[in-house]
Subunit: 194 residues, 2 copies
Amino acid sequence: MFPEIHLRLPDWVGSFCEEWSAPFVEIDDRAQFVIELARANVARGTGGPFAAAIFDYERKTLVAPGVNLVLSASCSAAHAEVVAIMIAQQIMGTHDLGAEGIPMLELVSSTEPCAMCMGALPWSGVPRLVCSARGEDAIAIGFDEGAKPQQWQHELEQRGIAVARDVCREEATAVLRDYAQGGGLIYNGRSRNS
Amino acid sequence: MFPEIHLRLPDWVGSFCEEWSAPFVEIDDRAQFVIELARANVARGTGGPFAAAIFDYERKTLVAPGVNLVLSASCSAAHAEVVAIMIAQQIMGTHDLGAEGIPMLELVSSTEPCAMCMGALPWSGVPRLVCSARGEDAIAIGFDEGAKPQQWQHELEQRGIAVARDVCREEATAVLRDYAQGGGLIYNGRSRNS
């Protein structure tokens, strides 16, 4: 009577991950992977210039990549962070990625989370967040980040989530800029200026 | 290589909707439907005490119901509002429920949106929001609403979303209270107090 929701990563993401030979040891390594994933999402025409991934922080391994599927899946909530979280939760078999028995996980995002993704983080249970481009870098090319509390980092930290910002910010911002200059669609729903 | 995400409403929701004979003409009619959907989600054991639905505001018809699937789908983002929005977007074939050619839609929620769902609203394009219980009513039974801006209603209105609050608040709060008194799981991920 009502349709089901199916979200799947584009076909190229699997081989992109398999072919990535660089290590994930340093925080910059993990950020670079996510930034290149965002760039590939634009190049392949499968979505916006945003990517994220969840890593096993102890083993330094990739658990779940995420790319923005808003346009391809007709799903406004399918931001890269939400997709990565959902996939990791399927893999772990629980809605709580901070539960006992789950390895320490880290969400790395090519751009700071918008209001929705920021709100999604505490619910997900993920205890670590790493961001590359700033929210203002996304706003600079026309995306609306939504109504985030000014002290959003503090709000996450109060909920036990460690936050690192500006990790490879330059490289991540270049992906956003290239997307805008290439005529990429700025697919806000209702923005403050619309 | 990575699992797909499948979200589906519990089987009983279809017949619940078919058997609902009351009209959706008045705002209270629509709120009552959503409150009873939340109550049924608890009674059937398929999730938390939260429901939502998207209505065609002109025709006064149901477009897409949503119930909280966090536990049943192992998916922390599957709050009732997000589920209803995702289903409506599948039905309409677009990520933007405010796009030209889409009827005027209204999201009715049994409890005010948490930080994530508030952030999801502008992206969804839905131009109207109706809420029954207040965020503080959910907090009173132990749920964390997350870091919402104090002026969240104003923030939504600034983005062209009309907001009505406290519609059948008493009835909706009773569902929350009954859930807590019945020993229902309060499944916060990382809350301010954890």
